[in-house]
C-alpha cells in the first residue's frame, strides 16, 4: 500500500513546492504504514525524478505519453487517477500550489473521492484520518474528519520547509504510460508569454505599500520614488485596486500576491485580515498611519503615526541626504 506524491516540474526542473510535499508526506506515510512513491509527469520527468529517493521516495513513477508534453490540468489529473488505480495507492498528496490543488481536484473528481485542500497537519492513526486545513487563505484553520478508503489531500504551501529524509530510499524510476484520449488534452498549454524578468512583488527585498489613505493614483508617485531609492517595488491594498488606482498585479493579500520582503512599509493601509495574510511573511513591517489604533500599526514591529503624504517624502529626502 502506498502514498503517492505528485511532483511538479517545469520541463525537467523540479518545483521546490514538490520537495515540501515529499517532506510533509514522508513521516505521514510512516505513521500510516504506507510506502511513499512519487509521480512525475510529462516531458523531462526522468530528469526531474532523479534524486527523489533522498526525500524518501521508494519508487518514482515517470508518466509519459505523446499527449503529455506541457502541463494540462485534465491530462495530469487523469494520469494521476489511472496511476492510483493501477498501483492500488491508498493516499495521494501534492503541494497546495494552484497547480497542485488543480491536479488533485481533477483526480478526485475522476475517482469520485473527497479531496482535502491545503492541510497543515494530518493524523492518519484513526479509522478516519483527521486533518487541520487552511481557510480564508490562512487566517483561519478548520479541523475535519475524512471518511474515505482512499485519501486525497494537498499540504499548504510553505507549511513545512523542504529537507531530505534521514534515511534515503531507493527512488527507483519506473515508467508509466497512461491511456489518454483527445478530450483530456482540450486543456493543455498552447502558448507561453513571459512578461517580466527580475524583481517581482513576490520576490522584492523591499515593498512600499499604499492603501486607501494614499487617496489617488497620482499620489502613488512619492511611494514609487521611495521604492526606487530602496531598489524595491510598490504594492497596494484591495481598496486601491478596486478604485482603479493600481493594477491588480500590485495587490498584496489573500486574493493578491503573498510577499516576503526584508521590510514592508505599509502606508495608509488599515491591515484587514485579508491584507495581513499576504504581508505577514515580511521579516519586518513599518506601518505609517494617521490612526495609531489601526490594525496594521498594532501588528507591525515599527510604526510612524502621521500623514503618509508628509512622512514618505521626508524618508526619501533623508535617504538622499545620507547617500550624499
Amino acid at each position: 500500500m502506498s502514498l503517492l506524491v505528485v511532483c511538479d516540474h517545469d520541463r525537467g526542473s523540479l518545483a521546490d513546492a514538490s520537495l515540501e510535499a515529499l517532506t510533509f508526506a514522508h513521516p505521514l506515510a510512516r505513521a500510516a504504514g504506507l510506502e511513499m512513491a512519487a509521480v512525475v509527469i510529462g516531458e523531462g520527468a526522468e530528469i526531474a525524478g532523479q534524486g527523489l529517493g533522498a526525500y524518501g521516495a521508494h519508487i518514482v513513477h515517470t508518466a509519459s505519453h505523446p499527449l503529455l508534453t506541457d502541463f494540462g490540468p485534465e491530462a495530469w489529473g487523469e494520469t494521476v487517477a489511472q496511476l492510483m488505480i493501477s498501483t492500488g495507492a491508498s493516499a495521494l498528496l501534492a503541494c497546495g500550489t494552484d497547480r497542485g490543488n488543480e491536479v488533485v481536484a481533477q483526480a478526485a473528481a475522476r475517482l469520485d473521492l473527497p479531496f482535502v485542500a491545503n492541510c497543515r497537519s494530518v493524523d492518519p492513526t484513526g479509522d478516519q484520518w483527521s486533518m487541520t486545513r487552511v481557510q480564508w487563505g490562512g487566517s483561519l484553520l478548520e479541523d475535519i474528519d475524512l471518511t474515505a478508503e482512499i485519501r486525497l489531500m494537498t499540504v499548504a504551501h510553505h507549511a513545512v520547509e523542504a529537507k531530505v529524509a534521514e534515511a534515503p530510499a531507493a527512488g527507483s524510476l519506473v515508467s508509466f504510460s497512461p491511456e489518454l484520449g483527445e478530450e483530456t488534452v482540450h486543456t493543455v498549454v498552447a502558448d507561453r508569454v513571459v512578461l517580466t524578468k527580475g524583481v517581482t512583488l513576490s520576490t522584492a527585498p523591499v515593498v512600499v505599500g499604499g492603501g486607501r489613505g494614499v487617496g489617488s493614483a497620482e499620489a502613488f508617485a512619492p511611494l514609487e520614488e521611495l521604492a526606487a531609492e530602496l531598489n524595491g517595488v510598490v504594492g497596494c491594498s484591495r481598496a486601491v485596486t478596486n478604485n482603479g488606482w493600481r493594477p491588480h498585479s500590485d495587490q498584496v493579500g489573500q486574493t493578491g500576491t503573498r510577499i516576503a520582503p526584508d521590510i514592508y512599509i505599509a502606508s495608509g493601509i488599515s491591515g484587514a485580515i485579508q491584507h495581513w495574510v499576504g504581508a505577514m511573511a515580511a521579516k519586518n513591517i513599518l506601518a505609517i498611519n494617521t490612526d495609531s489604533e489601526a490594525n496594521m500599526v498594532s501588528r507591525a514591529g515599527h510604526a510612524v503615526i502621521g500623514d503618509l503624504h508628509q512622512v514618505i517624502p521626508a524618508i526619501t529626502q533623508e535617504i538622499r541626504r545620507r547617500k550624499g
Binding site: P73, G77, W136, H248, I315
Partner: protein
C-alpha cells in the same frame, strides 16, 4: 452566448476573524456579507462577454436564503437570471455542493439548452476547497482550466473555441479550449463595475428562482474552526509625522536595505 456563473456568499471580516461558540462558522454578528472576490470578477467577465457578443448571464448560488442578497447584487451590475439553491446548514461540503450545482445546471439546460460558458471562482474566499468548479465540470463532461485571468472569444480563435490566459510566475500560459467550457477565474481578470442607479432599480425587480436540492453529504466533515496562534509583537513607535524620518532611515540602515 449563454453564460452561467456560480458565486458564494461569504462574510466580510475586517481586522480579525471570530468564530462562533460552536466552532461551525465565522461569527458574522457585526459583519456584512459579500460575494467571494474571484466570483465577483467572474460575474463582471460574464456581463462584459454578453455585452460584446450578446446573450444572457445566469448567476447561481448555494447558501442560506439570505444569499439572495448576492444574487441581487449581481443583478445590479448587469446579470439577467438568478437561481438560489437554499440550504439550512451553515455550509455544504465541496462534493455535496458540486453535486447540487451540477443537478441545478442540468435542470436549466434540459429546457433552455447548454450554457456556452460556466464560470467559477478559482477558490471560494472562506472555505477555499479548490475543487467545486472542477467537480461540476467533470460531472458535465466539459473541459475546465483554473487560475484564469483573461478570456478571449474573438481574435485569432477558431469558431467555437475560447482562449484563456492563466497566470504563471512573471507571465502567462494560453489555453485553447473548445466550447462549451468551464473556467475558474481569478481576481484581476477585470475591474468589477459598481452598480449604477438603474442597476439598483433593476436588482429590486429581479426574479430569483429557488431550486431546492437534496444531496447526500460528502466525505469531508467539518469538526470546528479556530484561529491560528498569533505572535503578538510590541510595536515600536519611531515618531510622529515627518520628524520621524531619521529614525526610519536608521532602521533601514540597520536592516541593510539601504544600498
Amino acid at each position: 452566448m449563454r453564460i452561467l456563473v456560480c458565486v458564494k456568499r461569504v462574510p466580510a471580516p475586517g481586522a480579525r476573524i471570530n468564530v462562533t461558540a460552536d466552532g461551525q462558522t465565522v461569527d458574522a454578528a457585526h459583519l456584512g456579507f459579500t460575494t467571494s472576490p474571484h466570483e465577483e470578477c467572474a460575474v463582471e467577465e460574464a456581463v462584459q462577454l454578453t455585452e460584446a457578443h450578446g446573450g444572457e448571464v445566469t448567476v447561481m448560488t448555494l447558501g442560506p436564503v439570505e444569499a439572495e442578497e448576492q444574487l441581487r447584487y449581481a443583478a445590479s451590475v448587469g446579470a439577467h437570471n438568478f437561481v438560489l439553491i437554499p440550504i439550512s446548514e451553515v455550509d455544504w461540503d465541496p462534493q455535496r455542493t458540486a453535486t447540487a450545482l451540477f443537478e441545478a445546471i442540468v435542470a436549466i439546460e434540459e429546457t433552455d439548452g447548454a450554457f456556452d460558458l460556466v464560470l467559477f471562482g478559482n477558490e471560494s474566499a472562506d472555505s477555499g476547497g479548490f475543487q467545486v468548479g472542477v467537480r461540476v465540470a467533470n460531472h458535465l463532461g466539459r473541459p475546465i482550466v483554473n487560475g484564469i485571468k483573461g478570456i478571449d472569444l474573438d481574435g485569432e480563435n477558431v469558431e467555437g473555441f475560447a482562449s484563456a490566459r492563466r497566470e504563471i510566475d512573471g507571465g502567462f500560459e494560453v489555453y485553447q479550449v473548445p466550447l462549451p467550457a468551464v473556467f475558474g477565474v481569478k481576481e484581476g481578470i477585470n475591474l468589477p463595475r459598481y452598480p449604477t442607479m438603474k442597476g439598483r432599480l433593476a436588482s429590486k425587480k429581479a426574479v430569483v428562482v429557488t431550486d431546492q436540492r437534496t444531496v447526500e453529504v460528502g466525505g469531508q466533515l467539518r469538526l470546528r474552526l479556530h484561529r491560528p496562534v498569533e505572535q503578538i509583537t510590541e510595536t515600536v513607535i519611531l515618531g510622529t509625522g515627518p520628524e520621524a524620518a531619521p529614525a526610519v532611515v536608521d532602521l533601514l540602515e540597520e536592516l541593510g536595505v539601504l544600498s
